[in-house]
Amino acid sequence: MQMRQIAALTALAAALSLAERLLPGPLPWLKPGLANIITLALAARGEYRTAVLVSILRSFVAALAWGGLFSPGHIFSLAGGICAAGVTVFLCRVLPGVISLIGVSVAAALAHGLGQLAAGRLLFVSQDAVLAVLPLVLLAAVATGVLVGLATRKVLARGWLG
């Protein structure tokens, strides 16, 4: 994939990431993770390197635009993004015959949430706090994972990423 296509996809992913921060929700830290549509769609098409690259770059672009580069929020986002991209690429590459987009998406959302909790634990958050938040993270990951998986299926079917 050409550099300008990677730049365009990174910009699109960052825009989705920023847009969902403005969405009202039941919990302030619970977001659908719409930017993962791009990572998931790329990995599902076999563009593994681009998927990981866009996921990492998107985190930096969104943090720069929002004004929180290397803030705790950015570190959470980066840790979650790297874990999610890693799991996405692994499943798409190793187990494509036994898993669908929905399964990969839920697994990626779980990796994203657990990666954020691990980053939180390393930064400051106590083990008790991690355990208190864990069930909500798991429930949210399944819900958002299914949503993102369905959206990615639509994106791929319509050929919106070119």
Binding site: P28, A44, A129, A141
Partner: protein
């Protein structure tokens, strides 16, 4: 280019969906239930405990500046804080045993706990 993955739901998909849900419900069933009797506030400078119910505004110092925990009866919320996104304020109010509000930038945790309070308020 089309997706290389299976189009319909597979057994592995179902396992990935059901396992975390089961674990989450198991964890949720373990905690909560009883009424909290103490609010515990962990700050970089120490730990503060306040017996419940109470009517009080507690001002303490976090990593980025002052923050205020508002206690009204058994409900606890963070009213003011000098953190960038105010995510912690959105986590409250809390009122059940085991619930918490956590602010990573301020390095504070506010917990509701059960058990018998030994004193009305203490800081160490």
């Amino acid at each position: 280019m089309k997706s290389r993955l299976r189009s319909g739901l597979t057994l592995l998909d179902l396992i990935i969906i059901v396992l975390p849900l089961a674990l989450a419900f198991m964890l949720l069933r373990q905690g909560g239930g009883t009424s909290p009797s103490v609010v515990r506030i962990i700050t970089p400078g120490g730990v503060w405990r306040q017996a419940l119910p109470a009517e009080k505004a507690i001002r303490l110092e976090g990593s980025l500046g002052m923050f205020e925990v508002h206690v009204s009866g058994g409900r606890v919320s963070i009213r003011e804080t000098h953190c960038p996104d105010h995510v912690c304020q959105g986590m409250g109010p809390i009122e059940q045993n085991g619930q918490a509000m956590i602010c990573v930038p301020q390095r504070i945790e506010v917990w509701l706990e059960g058990g018998e309070p030994e004193v009305d308020a203490v800081c160490r």
